[in-house]
Symmetry: C2
Subunit: 251 residues, 2 copies
């Protein structure tokens, strides 16, 4: 009954996230895609563009998780140090990847601009490509580390090219939600009992506060659809027992 | 000239972020507030509601950074294990904090609901409070770890109560931005030179793609306002030299 769980970690490389300039949206996108691919996102880290930090973080995470995804730092400027840092993490040399070079040279540019752009063709020796369906330079996979762009449009295109087979993904992770205008404390006891009865399912409760009142959304996640339906019915009974009215999750 | 840099790490505790159900907004909010408080957010981690993971992550981060902030997991339900996990990380006992208890008991509730709610009054022995200006249960500070709610409205209220003096913050970190419709590769060389001339300032470039064209926003961050102004002028010259037109950052 228990299937192997395939785990992943996301490393977001970028001072612009840590400075507050940019709101990250890559984490949520990857999380949702990985649910479909049968991979569990177990951790995410946001780190600055500092070589030793990238090396240490990548080496720690690639040991701890089945897959590691990175976003950011693969452009053509001085602060784009991801490819070189990943190479060092693996004690590998950098090389110019011929397929990436073809894409880069397809767009004409003055020599000094082309020289900067060609920085995006560098990958560690031993890498395979992660396609970039936007037509721009590809990302790469080194060992269990998938290196992708930070710009969301490009990152999303790259993620779309990664198949379940490539990740050895298990069953997709599904979720169901039920909302109610009851405080978390009112359903805490019943909810803990449901979690105890279904240890393979993740049972979460999320309070909300709106103009029309406060309440709680209950979210369950697991791979067994029929078990999820059973739990939804239990949650509805729990809500009614506490004097509430089960409804669609309240946003 | 060089001031002590005060560093921080944010630990976001919550399965709902890793599952993709919820878009985190606490990181960006904290980052922006810490800039004003003269503290540099150097790393963020998103971890699941698993006790040993919380303990290990907190213990690693409180050694590595001046301050650690956590969000999430301090509600009244079975998956709210942050306070107990922080206590274990510090080898401290849990206690009922009398000031939190007063707030919780001020709102009447049936005994079993009050019992669940009182879970929110538990703090490790040795903690001080982090105020909650919304009027709900407070967060707490244990050592250099600030434990806050995950609901953004409550988290933001708690952050607003933390003073620069409490964090020993240095000068505020300021930023300036210049946008242009030039590719990153076109300005990469000049930008690297500017970074070399101003090692204390963080010089970043962020490509964008819009219907009306593509280009790059240049962002500089540092504590010395006059140095930032000097660099802005250099960046404008660089953009003009490459045939572009400096303008406000392009969103």
């Amino acid at each position: 009954m228990t299937q192997k769980v395939v785990t992943a970690c996301l490393i977001i490389i970028g001072n612009e996230i840590l400075s507050g300039r940019t709101q990250d949206v890559n984490l949520q996108h990857l999380a949702i895609e990985l649910n479909e691919l049968g991979v569990r996102l177990r951790e995410a880290r946001v780190i600055p563009d500092i070589e030793q930090t990238i090396i240490n973080t990548v080496n720690e995470c690639r040991e701890a998780f089945d897959h590691v995804f990175t976003t950011g730092g693969i452009g053509p400027t001085h602060d784009d140090i991801t490819a070189a840092s990943i190479a060092k993490a693996f004690n590998a040399e950098l090389m110019i990847h011929p397929e990436i070079e073809v894409r880069i040279r397809a767009r004409e540019a003055p020599p000094e601009v082309m020289e900067s752009r060609m920085l995006m063709a560098r990958v560690p020796v031993g890498s395979t490509l992660v396609d970039n369906p936007t037509g721009g330079p590809q990302g790469f996979q080194m060992g269990n580390v998938f290196v992708m762009a930070g710009v969301p449009m490009v990152m999303q295109a790259m993620v779309s090219s990664i198949t379940k087979e490539r990740l050895g993904g298990a069953d997709p992770v599904r979720s169901r939600s039920v909302g109610c205008y009851l405080g978390e404390s009112q359903i805490a006891g019943g909810l803990a009992a449901v979690q105890d009865e279904h240890p393979d399912v993740d049972v979460g409760s999320y309070p909300f506060y709106r103009k029309d009142g406060f309440g709680t959304n209950l979210v369950i996640r697991g791979t067994d659809e029929s078990e999820l339906e059973t739990i939804v019915e239990k949650l509805k009974v729990l809500i009614v027992d506490e004097g509430g009215e089960p409804q669609d999750p309240i946003g």
